[in-house]
Symmetry: C2
Subunit: 370 residues, 2 copies
């Protein structure tokens, strides 16, 4: 079976993990957690990183720190993994869906501007939905399959509408926009190190921010909100146990050492796919949008025309043949828990759902025919 994306361990993974076991430091304290966070800062250029237990937890923390509370609406794209919306729901908020761009597959600045003009207003400095009277608390953009959205335009729009921008960068570690790593434009951003990501900690995530106050809050909130004391157990708020175990961070340190090589291999694979599909009729290979140097986390082919049965025929044939392929996630506004969520016109996302197929994208595939 050719996997969609399988992890690759051939650096110091075993050495670091063994060190944890040998020293007994496997749990929620230990040097690999600190080293992992430092390595993330060094690689992304974002000044603070808090390692957490997974990408969903990272998103939850971003939304809590952005101040999302009961009955807030949070603008996000319908084409995303369920965690984006789940994290909004954990805060008591409701997603408000805005369409994606056909050139990035992520939140579309034009659609966002149109939607805000149509439905939002600023009341006493706060962005509100004119129809529902609910506060709009934030915008979450997601870098779909690793490709960066138009961050400069989205950030400018958010600033104009008094909305904090959060980057769901779960899939975009190793992806840059206008020369800077994704995660730089948002007030906060969330990364994932799940087993299917470009590098993995087994399960893991991180909250990235350039804001030192938010970084301190992220660390405090995710480590049970315990106050420092030689022996007393005092907690000054309802905290979360979102700590990444040292065992998983050890794996992550070894993986981050490989990240530049992995990005290079995945870009090589994408180039080869692009060439292979160049002259194929009715299908195109999706290439990185302008301004973005992508990690090509999951490669995408698109049918020229929406055709669910053609899509399913390809999915059936490839999976039957041991080549793992997948459609896009079911669009969020079509899931039962978000059936009542407000949304604008979502025709780009709806078309993509009928046209999009992810094809095998493991790092090794980019190396194997060098």
């Amino acid at each position: 079976m050719a996997a969609l994306h399988e992890p690759l361990f051939r650096g110091h993974e075993w050495e670091y993990v063994k060190e944890c076991i040998d020293t007994g430091w496997v749990s929620t304290a230990g040097k690999f957690v600190d080293r992992f966070e430092t390595m993330l800062v060094d690689y992304t250029g974002i000044s603070h990183a808090s390692a957490v237990v997974n990408g969903t937890a990272a998103l939850h923390v971003c939304l809590m720190l952005a101040g999302i509370r009961q009955n807030d609406e949070v603008i996000c794209q319908p084409l995303t993994f369920a965690a984006t919306c789940a994290a909004i729901a954990y805060c008591g908020g409701l997603p408000h869906f805005v369409d994606v761009s056909p050139t990035t597959l992520g939140l579309c600045p034009d659609a966002l501007e149109t939607r805000l003009n149509e439905t939002a207003e600023i009341v006493d400095g706060v962005c509100q939905n004119r129809l529902t009277r609910r506060r709009i608390g934030a915008v979450v953009c997601m870098h779909t399959y690793g490709h960066a959205v138009e961050l400069d335009r989205l950030a400018a729009l958010c600033a104009r509408w008094h909305l904090p921008l959060i980057e769901d960068a779960a899939e975009s570690l190793g992806s840059f926009y206008q020369g800077r790593h994704t995660g730089h434009w948002g007030v906060l951003s969330a990364v994932s190190f799940n087993g299917n990501k470009i590098v993995t900690t087994g399960g893991g995530g991180a909250v990235l921010t350039n804001d030192p106050y938010l970084a301190r809050q992220a660390k405090h909130l995710t480590t049970t909100a315990k106050l420092p004391h030689r022996w007393e157990f005092e907690h000054d708020r309802v905290g979360y146990n979102y700590r990444l175990p040292n065992l998983n961070a050890a794996l992550g340190c070894a993986q981050l050492e490989q990240l530049p090589n992995y990005v290079a291999a995945k870009r090589t694979l994408a180039q080869r796919y692009a060439e292979a599909f160049r002259d194929v009729a009715n299908v195109s290979f999706f290439t990185e949008p302008s301004g973005c140097c992508s990690n090509y986390w999951l490669n995408v082919i698109l049918l020229d025309h929406p055709d669910r049965s053609a899509r399913d025929a390809i999915l059936t044939a490839t999976n039957d043949a041991g080549l793992m392929t997948r459609p896009a996630w079911q669009l969020m506004h079509r899931l039962a828990p978000y059936a009542l969520a407000p949304h604008g016109d979502l025709k780009v996302a709806e078309s993509l759902y009928d046209r999009l197929i992810n094809i095998p994208s493991s790092v090794t595939l980019g190396e194997s025919h060098g």
Copy 2:
């Protein structure tokens, strides 16, 4: 430094963890997760186990599945780790504190009965607080430092008051009550495998239940509520990413193989402590309550009389000397987030807080002078 409780790896930990890395199965699917769950079922005799990312997540799942929702009160003890109350808060509930028993250190059946008679009534089959008019949604008892509470009496009281009993068994893996493993009396129970527990997965937990419907719900809810399909990503509710990575489960399988030996060693250590303290004036060693065969997770000494300065003098002297000791957790009703929570008389917990000291309890200490 003599730790309070350090993990011990000398079985198949390396072998199983290396197998994960060698095969690439480190993440949220893999055979060690299934094996870990089966081993928990075999050891505890409770029919279903869902491995999750940590004990806090396990508690959260127990409370969600018990139906706790916005503005419910949940009865629990003030002498516990902050996670018990945090999990209640995640559901929108509020703790309602009832005192602990001096013989178990956990929730006191007499205090619970008094408190329910004083403040609760059954309205249309639902237990309500007469004063606050809020629903009382559940009772959570915690097996403090591994010692079982009086589960038969608590379960009978809960049944009479239409209250689901949840066991916070985070500390009591390996502890039995009336011949059955803790976790058997609650509708649901939560176990922790944090690094300081009797066995560890780095970070991890499990939801245990004898109810097959709740077990299916626990698995579904903790694995993003995804519906099974060959390739579609459909989620029928707001799910959680509480999956234990295979890497951590592998460590856990090796640890569970050692559990009976670890319990035996810890019981030997407790016996030795009991003898050592037998003739010491003004201090007693806490021994397991009647009906309980305890794992003696953290050993406890108690000053005969509440005296915070005597307690702190011992804490200072021992920690200065490299012998790690700790007081009880700050009582939950004294923490800022729960300052407004309802509570009855808590004089036993308050006395214990001034008298209780945890002393070094690692497995190796029970073996070293056999």
